[in-house]
Structure formats: C-alpha cells, structure tokens
C-alpha cells in the first residue's frame, strides 16, 4: 500500500507540481485532503513540543537547519504534495508519541521540512509581495495549505529571507564542491586564488538577481536585531566555505584576516550591486575585481614589508656587531 502510494506520488511528480491536490487519489475530495493535511500539521506541531527526544535528523541543530532548504528543495521536486505521508527519504525511528497512530509505518515529514517547503514555494511570490507574510501565505496556498499556516513562522519575513540565504549558500557549496572534485580528478585546472574568489562571490551574488528589486528590503530585515546572529552565522559559514575551497588551510591569524577581508569584499560588492543599473551588473563585477586586487596587493605589500623589516634588523645586528668589534668589546682579556 505504501509502495503503491509512493509510486503514484512519483508519477504525479513527473506530471508537474501545479496540480497539487490531484486526481490519482481521485476518490478523495479536495476538502477532505485539505483537512487531512491540517490534521497532519497539527500533530506535527504538537510533536515538536511533546517528544522530548526528537529523532536525530529532525533535531534543530544548526547543521541540519543549514541544509533544510536544500533537502526541502529535493523533497519539493520529489513529492507533489503534502498529502499522504510525505515521501521523505529518511525513515527515522519514529520516537514521537503523536504520529505513531496515523502514519502506519510510513515516513512522515517534520515541521522543519514542511516549513522549508512552504518557504521555498513562497520565494516565487517575493517579486510580487516582497519579503513578507503575504508571500509566505501565497506559497502555502500553492502547496494546498491554508494561508493560516503562516502562524508557524514566528519570525515572519525573517524566516523567509534566512531560508533563502541558506538555500543560496548550499547551492554555492555544491557548485564549489563540484569544481573541487573536477580539479581533484584532474579534469580541470586549479584556479588562481584571486580568480577563484572572484568567481565564487560572483556566482553567489548572481543568485540575488531575480530578487534584486526587493533585496534592499531583505537586507534591512536581516539587520533587525533578532536576525543579526543568524545572518552573521550564515555569512561566516559562507566565507569559511569559499576560503576552504579556495585552498586555505591556515591555522594562525591568517585564518581570521582572510575571512575578514573576504567578508568586507562580499558585503561591499552586495551593496554596490543594489544600486547597479549597468547591463548584467558589469559595474558590480568590475568593482569586485578591483576589491580583490586591492586585497591581493595588500597581502603582497605586507609580505614585502615583513622581509624588508627582517633585512633591516639583520643589517642593524651586523652593524652592532661590527661596532663591538671596533671598540674591542668582543675580545676576551
């Protein structure tokens, strides 16, 4: 029965996402499936409160949250709708008391995954409604849920923006990992650090292009005090990932200076991009190029200063030694 449902769902997925509440479970009228969805949502909400030891993969660790978006994306394309137990790949041990009854041993979707799916669906309404609860409500409706499910999102638009950021970061990490693999397999040439950084930041910023009109609003949402810790965390993860794939393996102060430099470059380029009206954001990429060049120059200047300093010290020591010789202080009497 479960297998049949899954096969049916897969077939439906192939036919496209639009018909969310679709024919194959044709005997089920639309409203009852909606109410089933609701009933399912309700125990899941209680789930999070009641189960004291949530199943490991639905634990709200930062690890998992970081990739919720990505898994939600995958889930989105794999499952056409929420109805029936969602075809989540993870068959976690079902430790919740609530869901044991209704699910008949099928995998269930956690609240986080449901939230992720709603937020992903909401992204297509952002150009229309901006980063707001309306977009989330519209997203929920395309999934066949009532717009009242926006009640799940305590942080409102902040949740949407953070979800989008997480998604973009995962995509970038994937792309970088893929490139890294290509280089390791010898199928591609390793890029110079400056080029690598430029490409990585450009790739990442290009993900904002579809939402560039409303991005100032998103940035101001990220600057709200309760969102700052999360947005900083995402930014630092992003920069750490980029440097890791650029080949940085430093374990001293360089670790900090490199990341600080890249954070500065990234933030300023983002701001430039907001008010850039050149075709395909050429000005932004030029700006990015120049900033990276600046940092590279600064690094080489620092090295030069250091070696000059060392040479000067050597010279002084030599001079002091010569003086000692001349004044006879070096001789033992």
């Amino acid at each position: 029965m479960a297998a049949l449902l899954r096969g049916v769902r897969a077939g439906r997925a192939l036919r496209g996402l639009s018909s969310v509440v679709a024919a194959p479970t044709a005997t089920t009228p639309q409203c009852s499936s909606l109410s089933r969805g609701f009933h399912r949502a309700a125990p899941r909400l209680q789930d999070d409160f009641k189960s004291d030891k949530p199943p490991p993969s639905s634990s709200s660790t930062t690890f998992h949250e970081h990739y919720q978006a990505h898994s939600a994306e995958q889930d989105n394309t794999a499952t056409a709708s929420h109805e029936g137990a969602a075809a989540e790949q993870a068959s976690r041990p079902n430790t919740s008391y609530q869901d044991q009854s209704g699910e008949q041993g099928e995998e269930y979707e956690t609240e986080e995954q449901l939230q992720a799916r709603i937020l992903t669906a909401a992204l297509e309404f952002v150009p229309l409604h901006g980063w707001s609860m309306e977009a989330i409500a519209s997203g929920a409706e395309t999934l066949g849920l009532s717009s009242a499910s926006t009640g799940m999102f305590n942080n409102g638009a902040g949740d949407l923006v953070l979800h989008f950021i997480t998604q973009c970061n995962s995509q970038l990490t994937e792309i970088l990992a893929e490139q890294h693999k290509q280089v390791q397999l010898g199928q591609a040439e390793p890029k110079a650090t400056a080029d690598f950084l430029r490409d990585a930041v450009e790739t990442r910023l290009r993900m904002y292009i579809p939402y560039i009109e409303s991005w100032p609003q998103a940035m101001s949402i990220l600057l709200l005090p309760h969102n700052i810790p999360d947005s900083l965390k995402h930014l630092s993860t992003l920069v750490d990932d980029i440097w890791y794939y650029a080949g940085d393996r430093s374990t001293d102060m360089n670790w900090y200076t490199k990341r600080a430099a890249l954070t500065g470059i990234y933030n300023t380029t983002e701001l430039v991009m907001l008010q850039d009206s050149s075709p395909d954001f050429e000005d932004t990429w030029n700006f990015l190029d120049n900033r990276i060049q600046d940092v590279v120059n600064m690094a080489s200047t620092a090295k030069q200063v250091q070696s000059t300093g060392e040479a000067v010290v050597q010279g002084l020591m030599g001079a002091a030694f010569t003086l000692k010789n001349l004044t006879g202080l070096n001789q033992r009497r």
């Binding site: 993969s57 790949q89 068959s91 374990t251």
Partner: protein
Amino acid sequence: MQRAAHTAVCVVAPAMIRRCLKCRVPLQVNSRAYSVVPTPRDSEEKDMLDRILRVDHAGEYGANRIYAGQMAVLGRSRTGPLIQQMWDQEKKHLQKFNEILAENRVRPTALLPFWNVAGFVLGASTALLGKEGAMACTVAVEESISEHYNSQIRALMEKDPERYTELLQVIKEFRDEEMEHHDTGLEHDAETVPGYWLLKNAIQLGCRAAIYVSERV
C-alpha cells in the same frame, strides 16, 4: 541500500563538504584514508571536538613559544641542546595539530598573537633566572599540559572510547612526551630555583586561565 545511506543523519564528511546525505550530493572522498578525528555526527559533537582541538593547538603553540623564549636566553649555554631537543618535540606536536585543524576545518583560537608574545616572554623571563628557572618553568607548564590532556582523555573515554581511538592515541602520545619533559625538568634541578613554589603555582594558574580562554575564544 541506498535508502539506508540516505536515512543516515546529516554527516559531515572528513573533507568537510558539509552536506546532508539525504540531499544525495556526492560526498567527497577524503584524500587521506586515515583520519585522526572521526566525522562528527551532529553539531554538538562538532563543537566539543572543535573545542578540544582548538585548545590543544593553542597549547602546543604556546609551548613552542615558551621554548623559543628560553632558547633566546639560554641557547648558547650548556642547557641549550637540552632545551633545543624539547623544543623540537613540541614543534612536531604543533605540526600534527596544524594538520588536524586544517583537515577538520577547526577555527584556531583568536588569541594566538597574544599567546605568541606571552609564551615568549614567559620563556625568556624564566630563563633569565638561570637554567633552574627555565627548568622550573618547563616543569610547571608541562605539568599543566599533562593534567589538561589527561582530563581530555578522560572526557573522550567517558563518551565513546572506540569512536575516538585515533584521537585518544595522539593525545596519549603527546601527554607521555610532555610528562617526559616534566621529568627532565625535575632532573635538571628545577626545584632549586628560589621561590620555586610561588613560580610554579603562578605559571600553572596562568596556564589554566589560558586553557579556559582558548577553549572559548
């Protein structure tokens, strides 16, 4: 079978593509088959391992600088070769931790420049008290470090000795070498320095504070 792999919890691959197995993105194979630190299963474990590795790295870095300070003063005296020998072992330890940190993407402590200066100053100033002073400093520091390694070993053993076998091996090896340094220090008249008790306790207090801070910052 693939299902089983996908049902695994978010795993962080040793080569640190942080990727949920569920997401079906290929895991990057670590170029080194042998990895000292096991891949953390969740962010709690990652935090714990990060803290352990960070403070150990800071400790070896500090010890390095202490010996450098001692060598700067006593390098040309009779105890020079002895201090050099101990310093070389510390350099090896530091290198090992550098490798481990890089491999596991652990953030080094932000206080490294401070330990750089503080270690050198400590080494140099105790060496100015003479060879006995340098040895007393060595005894105090090595005792602190050994205690610290022991408590880490205890913590890891309590959690899961099998999982952390290689890491435990590394820490045990380093702890044994630090104890050797400690004993060497005692053999070379560390206790004869005037104010030994005061010096030793002051240095150990400083070490404990350094360890506490390096774990967190």
